[in-house]
Symmetry: C2
Subunit: 179 residues, 2 copies
């Protein structure tokens, strides 16, 4: 499979950004290629497009599937597996948020809950205890809020984002009307 210079730039950028996003260069490249490719493609297409080893591509695709960023599928009359990146950008965004939360936040929340389980008022660690509590409260508030936002209709969510800071006016209005 061939890649145009235009596509190449995009793919290489994703490769370079990979390390900042917690994935390897090749995983970044593979995703970029799938993202800008309309038709499903197979692993060998990726090998020939990006010049990676077959096994590396296989591992990369597994990782992308674990992120739910790539879906495998079978084409009738072809024994190979094909892959496609879901097209809906908002769905991608939600998935990314969910997966990063699962990997980056949830373990810390568990740890905090566990550490704070039994009250230790009066121990020499009172300040630490307090800071852990603050952290837990913040994480619980923001993950609950994220859950709420994920429930909203997409149209509603977009409307809300476009409203931006204007939402505070609504909030003020609400307070005034005591509802």
């Amino acid at each position: 499979m061939n890649v145009t210079p235009y596509q190449q730039d995009f793919i290489l950028h994703f490769g370079e950004m990979g390390s900042r996003w917690g994935i390897s260069r090749t995983v970044g490249q593979i995703y970029a290629l799938l993202y800008i490719t309309e038709a499903p493609i197979n692993a060998d297409d990726i090998v020939s497009a990006l010049g990676l080893s077959r096994s590396n591509v296989s591992m990369g695709l597994k990782e992308l599937q674990s992120w739910r960023l790539v879906k495998p599928q079978h084409l009738p009359g072809d024994r190979r597996e094909y892959f496609q990146a879901p097209a809906d950008i908002w769905q991608i965004f939600r998935t990314l948020v969910e997966e990063r939360r699962k990997r980056e936040v949830d373990p810390t929340l568990s740890m905090l809950r566990n550490a704070l389980m039994n009250d230790r008022t009066g121990t020499p660690d009172e300040y630490a205890e307090q800071r852990l509590k603050e952290m837990q409260d913040l994480i619980e508030l923001s993950t609950q809020w994220l859950d709420d936002m994920q429930q909203l209709e997409q149209r509603t969510a977009v409307k809300l984002m476009k409203l931006g800071g204007g939402v505070s006016k609504l909030l003020a209005g609400k307070a005034g009307r005591r509802s």
Copy 2:
């Protein structure tokens, strides 16, 4: 400086999570220690508390300063530099959002703007072009929204988050009242 087993658990957890957060184990540990320590401490305190080399601590503190997560300060009559993690958890949250955006999103936004600068309708890359545009739109909408949220009073922001999905009622109300 000594660390209690209770504090130790928290510090080690942050160390382990470091790699998922894009920092090294020691940087994670240093921040955790500062986060749960009320008084400013100096580099040697950190060395003795965590058992790291002096130079590693120095580099780690530099990195944490580049994240704006740690502030250096001087105590009168002491020539050493002391460090403290800002205490306001909401401020920390904002800083994290800003810095991660700067590192993880802004470079991609630049790349996209650059790639999409001149209209290329009719090229063979039309689909890729379209997908880049979608990505750009999403990033611009969400970073603008983030900017707006950062402008809000903290009280307002917290109120809004606690409101959660209830915000859609306000939105509906607003539409009904044609304002």
